[in-house]
């Protein structure tokens, strides 16, 4: 029981991170109908930026952990957003009117490029940060196993919740969100009514990257290590989360992320961690076969 509770906490933490990445997938798919396969690598890149800055600020400049993390987080969001903006401009925008697979293949190219760029510059091995904020709150004690909730886990879940709320507000209440929804339904008509479709799409990429950067920084904080191949697996899992939740749906992405996080940790606990990725990806296959529009998606969404 204690172990189940502990894994529940771990699963929700991991799921929050997947959820934040999944929002980027789902938004981009919603607005231009393209799966941005480079999104996972953008997440990895943001974790690396945060890692370098954290080490620089704490080890070389002697800053305390908390301000250093805030600076690293903000800088990572800004740089990653800039990077994704550039990718959209260079690799996707020109292909938008082309056949459907063209931007997809371009995205895979960007993904390979990013992963290899980081491998070449940072090496293929795990890079780690010194542990920070290791305080925990004991939820149960005295039993066979002490269930704990760390400050970091609280931070991750709280940040995810706050960002989701803020983002929901943007989509529902601001001109940008309205333009996004209009472009999603009929981009040509939106353009004819004066909506700047290119700008709307670019901002969607920027927001998606900023959310991925939050996820990347939190991932680094929680697990302490990152390596250049970490873009692929978490990226595909976040994609699975987006599909499970219903691609195109914002709350669906977060719900899907939480479910994937839970499935993965529970499977790892009870059936052994060798097959935990298989479990997560089986969910992708099962969802696509039996429920292609996902848990919260609209029907008739085009599938990849």
């Amino acid at each position: 029981m204690e172990i189940f509770l502990q894994q529940l906490i771990n699963g929700v933490t991991l799921g929050s991170i997947y959820g934040l990445i999944a929002i980027g997938y789902t938004m981009v798919f919603g607005i231009i109908g393209m799966v941005n396969f480079a999104h996972g690598d953008v997440f990895m890149l943001s974790a690396f930026i945060a890692l370098l800055l954290l080490l620089l600020l704490t080890q070389m400049l002697g800053l305390a952990a908390a301000p250093a993390f805030v600076v690293a987080l903000v800088a990572s969001m800004a740089l990653t957003a800039l990077w994704n903006f550039a990718i959209e401009r260079v690799a996707y925008r020109r292909l938008r009117g082309s056949f459907r697979l063209a931007p997809l293949i371009s995205a895979i190219g960007m993904s390979t490029f990013l992963a290899n760029f980081v491998t070449v510059t940072q090496g293929p091995n795990n890079k780690s940060i010194p542990p920070m904020w290791d305080q925990v709150i004991a939820i149960t004690s005295g039993g066979a196993y002490d269930v704990t909730l760390s400050y970091k886990q609280i931070l991750i879940v709280a940040v995810t919740g706050a960002l989701l709320a803020a983002f929901w507000f943007v989509v529902q209440k601001t001109p940008l969100g309205r333009a996004q929804r209009a472009c999603e339904q009929d981009a040509k008509m939106a353009a004819l009514l004066g909506v700047d479709v290119n700008r709307t799409v670019a901002l969607t990429f920027v927001i998606g990257a900023a959310l991925a950067a939050v996820a990347g920084s939190l991932y680094l904080l929680q697990y302490g290590v990152v390596k250049s191949s970490d873009g692929f697996v978490p990226g595909v899992k976040a994609f699975t989360a987006a599909v499970l939740g219903g691609i195109g749906s914002l709350p669906g992405a977060v719900l899907g992320g939480l479910l994937i996080g839970l499935i993965e940790t529970m499977w790892g606990q009870y059936f052994g961690s060798d097959y935990k990725d298989v479990a997560a990806f089986s969910v992708l296959a099962i969802t696509l076969i039996f429920m292609p529009s996902g848990l919260m998606g609209r029907p008739d969404v085009e599938k990849v």
Partner: protein, 300 residues
Amino acid sequence: MNWLDDPILRVDHLTMRFGGLLAVNDVSFAAGRGDITALIGPNGAGKTTLFNCLTGFYQPTAGRIAFSSEKLDAEKIETLTRSARKHDGETFLLERMADHEIVRKARLARTFQNIRLFQGMSALENLMIAQDEALSRAAGLSFIGLLGLPSWRRAEQAAVDRAVAWLDRIGLKKRADDPAGSLPYGDQRRLEIARAMCTKPALLCLDEPAAGLNAAESHGLAELLRGIRDQGETSILLIEHDMSVVMRISDHVVVLDYGQKIADGSPREVREDPAVIAAYLGVEEQEEAVEEAVLSGGGA
């Protein structure tokens, strides 16, 4: 005779060829400022093709489309034509511009034969989207909007007021928050026109606005269009099959048949034009029968 004295749009020798098909063949006409100009003709006459050339959906094979919301000056058009430019800020050569440029710079708005509302968004939001250009500028990429600064609130309020005024005018104020897709067909048609008007166009191009409407609805539509014309809000160019609507509201009628212009003038002149009658009903028909048919709105 506004279209001769003070045109807002002048089409010269426009030709559109699709492979071996000559859809529009050397058509020239002008639309008057403040007028309702109707473009009519039998099926396949090239009306929609011509519309698509005007609004930048097609690149015409040959010809010139000059447009100015201020004053269309022949000399300026010539100067602009000889230069490589698309516009001089006042006079626009539409055949050189892309569709979104035509909308944003020259301020043409158009609707389509099929309804293209944002079905999942509310009626009010559909009208707000049409004002997005000004709003998103005021919102500073929505960051200022998030902070709720006064300048943004004023812009948002002005846009809402405008949208609500239009909803009121088309009788949909009570259904402002309903999804556009759930409205009756006739209401959707009028909502589309209101949405186009919210972009503050200099010329409103309507492709068969009365298609699929019953007699009462098309009467309401005619009133709406006439109201827009009478208040001098914009000039209107429309394609229409419903002759009762065309004859009731148009100031000027241009008739196309097989891609060529066969008549051009006031509704009365056009109705009595033998070429038009022949195009609509064939040359064999008795003229009285023709008159009657056209008058009773059976021309389509």
